[in-house]
Amino acid sequence: MSSHARTNLRNGLLFCLPWLLGLTVFLIYPLCAAFYYSLCDYSVLLPPVFIGLDNYLDLAKDPLFWRSLGNTAYFATGSVSLGLLVSLSLALLLNSKVKGVGLYRTIFFLPSLMPVVAGSILWMWMYNGQSGLINTALRALGINGPAWLADPNWAKPAIVIMAVWGAGNAVVVYLAGLQDVPVSLYEAALIDGAGFFQRLFHVTLPMISPVIYFNVVLSIISGFQAFTQAFIMTGSTGAPERSTLFYVLNLYNVGFQDLRMGYASAMAWVLFVLILLVTFVATKLSQRFVTYDR
């Protein structure tokens, strides 16, 4: 290595150092530590006691683990698919050249600026079975709305709807993608006589497929990590009837309320591997329809 290359390497490493340090201290170390604790009985207060795979074996037999996993899968599937549909449609609408589109864009982006806690409290009032805005509106239409958060059949859909309401970030990313689609492609398609849906499916969607992939992966990850909404709106038991006991909420209960941090670490690792797997599968599937070349 020449002295120039060595200087370059040194400088490069020095510039990377803050990030590398951060990654090691705040990510790699906690990840490894959590894995070690997942093999221990650990209450945080007393030194960990190594127990091998016991925590993982107990997890497999724990009905709450499976219940919370099911709830989370439901939420993730619902919020990812509905979120994709709604935010993409919104982005398409907001991409049209109408008067005051800037205002509309701002309005649809606003909800995502609201902190989840504040948003959750707002939605608790909206979902109030007796006097909530939603049921009042439904009553005006002659529909007797459900008790929403108090009804085990409706609590999860209610939280999915709320998640979709905050899809402003995704809309902005889609919009950026849409504006990047070369106009010449649309012109060519128009000359060939393509209608709206043909343009949508053969020009727009393939051109923004990397953006869709990006958004879907992000929302899968955040879907699996759902916690705040349920914690605020339905409490840490995941009421009613544990219909909103999400995986991370269960993990929080076990780790921070029951002080079974070893067990909670095992849950965290299972979640980590699950998200890794789902993201991997999504990436594999996406290779079929995501086009990067222009």
Partner: protein, 482 residues
């Protein structure tokens, strides 16, 4: 102030030098100012105290701390060799969790005001200082305290916490609604059966008659279909407030644990209690209750069930007087012991009786000083001042006449008697309480919505929690073996 001069920094000099210089000058600043304010030769012994209350309860504690600090300074002035103790209060939300994290991190406060139900889990995890030796040295007399509240700080044969401000629950009734229903408000129900009968009379619906006219009718009206009646007022709802759902068995003679190693969720008395809870869901209709309750506001708001007059009788705590004054000053109410099952006078006077407690976390850097403050706070005049300002009764067995005279709550003596009752019940002292409570909450949810029969729901809790308790015991044994 004469800080260390900061030398001109070469542009390439590291940030560390700058930080170091700033830190040094800051420490010089605090050192000099410390000398300036204290005339005493001894620097004060500073202890931190974590408090959970804000608002008027927090201010009540501030007054106690200020008095203590002033007394210490006076002591130091009189005796130059005495280093005064200085207590600093830090208010912390969710203290039961954050305190544990601070203890685990090795940086706990010297003293903490926590809830009595935390004692067992904290003690199981070695998070507390055993007060035994300190108490013995101070010549502590446990009979100064009401036995029930003293026991809340004891677990597995050791004393981990001292009661500070106690609470108990009673039946609160809306006397105006009693009179409207033709009931005598000076004769509140004494048995559960009487409570049920009163509750029926105090329940009101708006009924839509076949003619389309609307009429107000009392009772449960089973013959009127749900679509033709709207609940206006409930005599009693076991699910309102939702705080003590796990504890309905306490009024039927049931207990949640049988000693430290056995769960007794499926105790027949608990099953009877849950059946009684379910009976209300059948009388009103589970769906009706759900809808009715969803219209209520937070328990500490004018829209809460009892304060808004939507529920005529409720199980509530000594703190309710303050809420009434604040949110529903015109409410006409009275309090009585919660009823017992007919034919079981031995179960009379049951009450949920918990307390705020003072504990010294493990790793406290000034346990002796923290204990000195605990001792001060446990003297009768100080404790009475605190409990009076917090509008509760005191945990001590002796009470001054002034305390009763000054107390704003007209039923304060009743609440204290309930706290002293042999049927006063606290949350079970077990390290798995959080888990147990979640299971009980879920079970009662299923029972109230009539999705599961009480015996089955409780049997499931019994199996799960016994397994959890066994697991906990195994963990404790394994730790001890280490």
């Amino acid at each position: 102030m004469k800080g260390r001069p900061v030398r001109a920094l070469h542009p390439r000099a590291g940030a560390a030098t700058l930080f170091g210089a700033v830190a040094l000058s800051l420490s010089a600043l605090t050192a000099t100012s410390g000398c300036a304010t204290s005339t005493n030769e001894q620097s004060p012994r500073h202890i931190t105290y974590w408090e959970k209350w804000t608002g008027f309860e927090g201010e009540a504690m501030d007054a106690v701390i200020d008095d203590f600090n002033a007394k210490e300074i006076a002591h130091a002035k009189a005796d130059p060799k005495y280093a005064p103790i200085e207590v600093e209060k830090v208010t912390v939300s969710k203290i039961e969790q954050k305190l544990l994290i601070a203890i685990a991190g090795g940086n706990p406060p010297d003293l903490a005001g926590n809830y009595s139900f935390c004692v067992a889990a904290y003690a199981d995890n070695g998070a507390l200082t055993d007060l035994g030796p300190l108490l013995a040295k101070s010549g502590f007399d446990r009979s100064r305290y009401i036995e029930h509240y003293m026991r809340l700080g004891e677990y597995r044969g050791k004393t981990w916490a001292l009661p500070l401000v106690p609470a108990s629950t009673a039946l609160l009734i809306n006397t105006r609604l009693f009179r409207e229903a033709g009931l005598d408000p000076t004769r509140p129900p004494t048995t559960i059966e009487e409570l049920d009968a009163y509750a029926e009379k105090l329940t009101k619906w708006e009924v839509t008659l076949p003619s389309g006219q609307k009429q107000i009718q009392a009772g449960y009206l089973p013959e009127v279909p749900a679509s033709h009646k709207r609940l206006l007022q409930a005599g009693f709802l076991p699910g309102e407030p939702a705080w003590f759902l796990y504890g309905w068995g306490d009024f039927f003679g049931g207990r949640l644990i049988d000693g430290p190693d056995a769960i007794s969720a499926a105790d027949p008395a608990n099953v009877r209690a849950f059946e009684w809870v379910a009976s209300y869901s059948r009388k009103f209709g589970a769906e009706v209750i759900k809808r009715f309750r969803s219209g209520f506001g937070n328990s500490s708001s004018p829209q809460s069930a009892f304060l808004s007059g939507k529920v005529a009788m409720t199980l509530q705590g000594v703190w309710m007087h303050n809420y009434i004054e604040k949110y529903a000053p015109g409410l006409q109410w009275s309090a009585a012991p919660f009823p017992y099952p007919a034919g079981h006078p031995e179960l009379a006077g049951a009450s949920h009786a918990e307390a705020d407690v003072l504990m010294i976390p493990k790793g406290s850097s000034h346990p002796e000083e923290a204990f000195a403050f605990m001792q001060y706070a446990s003297t009768q005049p100080v404790l009475e001042k605190l409990c009076l300002a917090q509008q509760k009764f005191t945990p001590l067995s002796s009470v001054s006449e002034d305390f009763w005279l000054l107390h704003p709550n007209p039923y304060i003596r009743l609440f204290r008697e309930l706290g002293m009752s042999k049927n006063a019940v606290a949350i079970p002292q077990t390290g798995i309480w959080n888990e147990y409570k979640r299971e009980m909450d879920n079970a009662i949810d299923l029972v109230q919505t009539l999705k599961q029969p009480p015996a089955l729901a409780l049997a499931e809790v019994q199996t799960k929690m016994q397994a959890a308790l066994d697991r906990n015991r195994k963990i404790l044994a394994r730790r001890e073996a280490k």
